[in-house]
């Protein structure tokens, strides 16, 4: 297909590199350097999509990020929804189609909706669909189907996304004349500069206008500047890199869409800059008149861009509609580019006479004091209707391009994200940055100063200033002369459509919001700009109000008859432009999503049937270690029997360990534990309970005195971090005068626990150099020794109620020890056990777990551990709350055992235990099951429960409520095996 709208020469495209692509099923050709939008214009494609609500045909409106219409779905290898055609470079094999159009953009069946538009104004759904009662969902499901833009891909592309942290002295956002000039000023001083620009080519407006600098074409200056910047080792320049977010303390995110490494799909830079220079330019806005959304209506600056930068003609016969001086420059520029401009319609009465003269010299008829009131044509504009002068005489002018210039909105989005409050400037009838609240400065068009001269001057000055503030002496940047550009002199007209017009004048193209919608919202009392936006959805579409938000404020001000400045603007939120989920998420995929901490035994478990699960503290350890063809419960039962009858082995490495040392250690332990620590001899350990200050249970564990001065505390694996934080906090904030150091040493040790009647023998067989007989080495003793030839610490502690020994060796020896014990234990049929089994065994023994039986507001007495509360101590953490809460009366949730009457019924964790009152059918909950098991050692099910006033119910019957029905159980003491502890002490 030929490119009938491509000029024979000109533009920055590479005509030697033709590129073939598909759009809406048809093949087209463009050139390297084209965007999809420019290539479509060159090929004369007018309709590129359909609008969100009314499915109106839409064409390309702009040439940049502010595009509101040209969203496409990429297909094939690039499957991706909602890409902007105006920023998408074409490449060979590109396949794109319009979104929101069935079967295609040229003929869309849903466009019938357009004929019903009067029935569905803003917020119509709030007023209807209420019948039948609560059946909105039925309507909603149907509406959802026609809503939305693109389609989510069905499978991942699998690209590599990178995050890169970066520090610099000066971050310059935008590589237009102001940004380049700033980068030059800062770069020459030696400061570390990062210059980012969203476009594929630096230069900003220099690329789409015939400007001069020092009487030479501005493009020469551009080339020289880029050459100089690229030679500076202290300057990094990124293209197609958009600053998307501006956060606290000069932290910005920059999305680089086409990084230097081809295997990186996208890279998100996280930049911490000492100074930020915002040179983000300004966005032209459109004007409101009937059918202002027809294909062929385009921003005047965009029309220039398509002519000059891409060598295309966005139309053959143009009308320019403006309310400010920049329209003149663009009208003349279009003529020079080969577009016949028949008329320039200016809303103002008395435009600058020189400009009018220049326009007339170019053969353009200037019609002053006139407005376009409506556009003609459906799939392409064919003419405009204008109203001229006070008497509002009508006139029609034919055209196939309507270039609109409604004034300029400084791109203050990043400034607003930085926390700044924009202020309204009457000079340009738009919002400009107010005071800086971070180390930031806006220069050039985004500061509200639209001329090239001031962009260059402000940029250079800001670059010098920023580098000086970072401690670099600024090098000079020569003052440059540019041709005179007149002040814009904007006429703030916000709606040119005639009152009562049957056709819509769109203010937000993304969400199909019209000026009539805004008026309706205001009439219905939604008067604050936020309410108007929310009620009509204006400014809430994909472009995030880039094109519409100032016009919305202007129109509201006009309707309410107030100053736009008093209406206020909305706060812009990140992201400036949409960012792919992949780029946001970055590289942490697969197993890297959360760290996986390992013990030396982790691989052994993976190789031997261990069923790993979260332990807490990012460890994974086995719930059980299944043999071939064994179910989970079979494995747990087998392991449970082995520990009680023979020998089990358990990896205790994840338990938290803290070395506590210092002259005030005993005082410290006394304050953090509920029991008394005054007289612990060296080589002995003691069980303790720690409380939160609010009286709840925090954690339990054994602390050993391992030398005159050192204590070793253990914590539950999942609580290790919480406990350490708790202790550090007490020490540093509340008791800074206590001389105690805490050193976490969890990772130093691998800890293996052997448990069961044969555990003493297995240690003998593996080789141990100390006497561990019951007399010489008692329950809660600890010693240094050698086990299996490895230097070790051995301790007698238990989590199962069986005779058990915990052996700790340096991490590097962990697996050696494990293997040695497994080998020595073969004759006792040593059984590796998992944490589910450990839970079963502790339940049999009635050992409580702070996180289960201590759930909710249960305290240390409720869980039957009142004996651990020292009566002698005046204070310990939690004591005061404990007293207060118990004194305030009421029945307590107390821990009891349950023996289900159906010995095969295992009470599920969390099942409510209920009572039925005499006169009520509704059961009332008196507590819940905290854990239940089938005990292989007892040959029946057991459970622990937390019951209101539970201790007084011993011997009574409990009713357990499950969604399968109701079961009963006897309430008993919470211990089922070895109540006197003979086994563990033996």
């Amino acid at each position: 297909m030929t490119e009938e709208f491509r000029n024979p020469s000109g533009g920055r495209i590479q005509r030697g590199c033709p590129i073939s692509f598909q759009f809406n099923g048809r093949r087209y050709t463009g050139f390297l350097g084209d965007t999809l939008a420019s290539a479509l214009i060159a090929n004369g494609v007018s309709v590129v999509g359909r609008s969100q609500k009314y499915h109106r045909p839409r064409g390309i409106m702009s040439a940049g990020l502010e595009e509101t219409n040209a969203f496409v779905q990429l297909a094939g290898n690039d499957d991706e929804p909602n890409r902007l055609a105006t920023t998408l470079p074409i490449h060979d094999g590109l396949v794109a189609h319009s979104v929101n159009a069935t079967p295609n953009a040229d003929f869309d069946v849903a466009s019938l909706l357009g004929f019903f538009h009067r029935f569905i104004p803003a917020g119509f759904y709030y007023k209807t669909f209420m019948w039948p009662r609560d059946k909105w969902d039925w309507y909603g499901r149907r509406i959802r189907k026609i809503a939305g833009w693109g389609t989510a891909p069905a499978k991942p592309e699998g690209g590599r996304y990178e995050h890169r942290n970066h520090h610099c002295d000066v971050l310059v956002v935008g590589a237009g004349p102001a940004g380049l000039s700033a980068a030059l000023g800062a770069g020459r001083s030696g400061a570390r500069v990062l210059l980012v620009d969203s476009d594929s080519e630096a230069g900003g407006k220099l690329l789409s206008d015939n400007l001069t600098i020092n009487s030479r074409p501005a493009l020469e200056w551009l080339d020289n500047t880029l050459t100089e910047l690229d030679l500076m080792p202290n300057v990094i320049r990124l293209s197609r890199a958009t600053a998307t977010g501006y956060f606290t303390d000069n932290y910005l995110t920059v999305l680089e869409e086409c990084p230097d490494k081809p295997w990186v799909r996208e890279r998100l830079w996280k930049v911490r800059a000492k100074r930020v220079i915002l040179a983000t330019g300004a966005i032209e806005r459109t004007l409101l008149f009937a059918n202002n959304d027809r294909p062929g209506i385009m921003l005047a600056s965009a029309a220039m861009t398509y002519c000059l930068r891409y060598g295309t003609r966005p139309g053959n016969t143009a009308v320019v509609f403006t309310n400010n001086n920049s329209g003149y420059r663009h009208a003349i520029g279009l003529v020079k580019a080969g577009v016949a401009v028949t008329a320039l319609i200016d809303t103002r009465k008395d435009a600058d006479s020189k400009l009018r003269g220049d326009a007339a010299d170019s053969g353009i008829e200037v019609i002053a004091d006139a407005r376009v009131i409506s556009a003609k044509g459906r799939r392409r504009v064919s003419g405009v209707s204008i109203s001229v002068g006070k008497d509002q005489s009508r006139r029609r002018i034919r055209c196939d391009l309507l270039a609109v210039s409604g004034g300029w909105n400084p791109a203050i989005h990043l400034y607003s994200q930085s926390g700044g409050k924009p202020i309204y400037s009457e000079r340009i009838a738009s919002f400009v940055p107010g005071e800086s609240v971070q180390n930031e400065r806006s220069v050039g068009a985004c500061s509200g100063d639209l001329t090239l001269q001031s962009a260059l001057a402000q940029g250079a000055e800001a670059g010098r200033e920023a580098s000086r503030l970072c401690g670099f002496t600024g090098a000079d940047v020569a003052t440059l002369d540019c041709e005179h550009e007149p002040d814009p002199c904007v006429d703030p007209v916000w709606d040119c459509s005639l009152p009562g017009s049957q056709s819509s004048a769109f203010i937000d193209f993304n969400n199909d919001v019209t000026s009539a919608d805004i008026r309706l919202a205001m009439r219905e009392g939604y008067r604050s700009v936020e309410l108007v936006k929310r009620y009509t959805t204006a400014g809430m579409g994909i472009d995030q109000g880039k094109s519409s938000s100032v016009s919305i404020v202007g129109l509201i001000a006009e309707i309410a008859d107030v100053e736009p400045g008093s209406v206020g603007t909305t706060t812009y939120r990140p992201a400036y432009t949409p960012v792919s989920f992949g780029a946001m998420a970055g590289p942490i995929k697969g197993r890297l999503i959360v760290p996986w901490r390992r013990t030396p035994m982790t691989d052994w478990f993976l190789d031997n049937g261990g069923h790993l699960d979260e332990t807490g503290a990012q460890f994974r350890r086995p719930l059980f270690i299944a043999k071939a063809n064994e179910s989970a419960s079979e494995a747990v039962q087998r392991e449970g029997l082995a520990v009680r009858n023979q020998l089990g082995i358990y990896d205790s490495t994840p338990l938290g360990k803290i070395i506590i040392q210092g002259p005030d250690t005993v005082a410290f332990l006394n304050r953090v534990y509920s029991n008394n620590w005054d007289k612990l001899p060296v080589g002995r350990g003691k069980f303790g309970f720690m409380l939160y200050e609010d009286g709840r249970l925090l954690d339990d564990g054994v602390t050993m005195r391992i030398s005159d001065t050192q204590y070793l505390m253990s914590n539950s694996a999942g609580m290790a971090d919480v406990v350490l934080d708790h202790l550090e906090r007490l020490l540093h904030i509340h008791w800074p005068d206590l001389k105690v150091y805490l050193t976490p040493v969890t990772d130093q040790w691998a800890v293996v626990c052997v448990c069961g009647p044969q555990s003493r023998r297995v240690l003998h067989d593996a080789g141990i150099d100390i006497d561990i007989s019951g007399e010489a080495f008692k329950f809660l003793d600890t010693r240094l020794c050698t086990v299996a030839g490895l230097p070790a610490r051995i301790s007698r502690v238990t989590y199962t109620g069986e005779l058990s020994f915990e052996v700790a060796v340096a991490t590097r020896h962990g697996l050696t020890l494990w293997n040695a014990l497994i080998a020595a234990g073969q004759k006792f049929d040593i059984t590796p056990v998992g944490s589910d089994t450990s839970m079963l065994l502790r339940t049999e023994k009635g050992f409580i777990a702070a996180g289960l039986e201590g759930d909710g507001y249960a305290d240390i007495y409720d869980v039957g551990m009142g004996w651990l509360v020292s009566e002698k101590k005046a204070d310990f953490v939690g004591k005061r709350s404990l007293e207060k809460n118990r004194r305030s009366g009421g029945k307590r949730p107390e821990v009891v055992g349950l023996l289900p009457h159906d010995r095969n019924f295992v009470p599920p964790k969390g099942a409510p235990v209920v009572e039925y009152g005499d006169d009520q059918d509704e059961p009332r909950q008196m507590g819940m099951v905290t854990i239940g098991f089938y005990s292989p050692n007892l040959g029946g099910s057991i459970a622990l429960a937390q019951l209101r006033d539970g201790r007084s119910c011993l011997g009574q019957t409990a009713t357990i409520f499950t969604n399968a029905g109701v079961e009963t159980a006897s309430i008993c003491e919470p211990v089922f095996i070895d109540p006197d502890g003979e086994r563990m002490r033996g």
Partner: protein, 170 residues
Amino acid sequence: MSGYNAKLDAIPRKGMLDLRGDAEAVRLCGETLGCRFPEEANAKIAVSDHSALICLSDDHWIFETADGLQVEILQQLELAAADQFHSFCDVSDMYAHLVLSGPEAIEVLAQCVAIDIHPRVFGPGSTARCAFADTVAQVSCLDSSPAYEISVLSSYERYSIDWLLMAIGS
């Protein structure tokens, strides 16, 4: 061809001591080791050919030496500081050490740490304890090739290796 021009090596464990103590304890230890303890956080000094001291904060240091030597040094230090407020622990097995090197090592490291590692501010001899991926590491610049040593908690070793290999992209 994909991936950065950088490589990752695991190096053997070192002898490491975690030293905490008041000024007097530190002074006495300094005498024993024949050096002055550095006072600025993230400062590192060489104590001898094979040992170094890293300051973590005003009462916390890490002493690094060749594996095996730490036991005796710990005894000497304990003896020296016996009467002072201190806590010394052998933490040689707590840390695993990785070395990331190659022309593009900085581009790899910039993916996992957020501190400024530009050669102007983080050249050879610099060290910092900082967030590394989703854990913590002691990161040191060894030379300007560049090469970085990354010491992580032992239980995070595999995670850290996986992370770095992913970042290198090989």
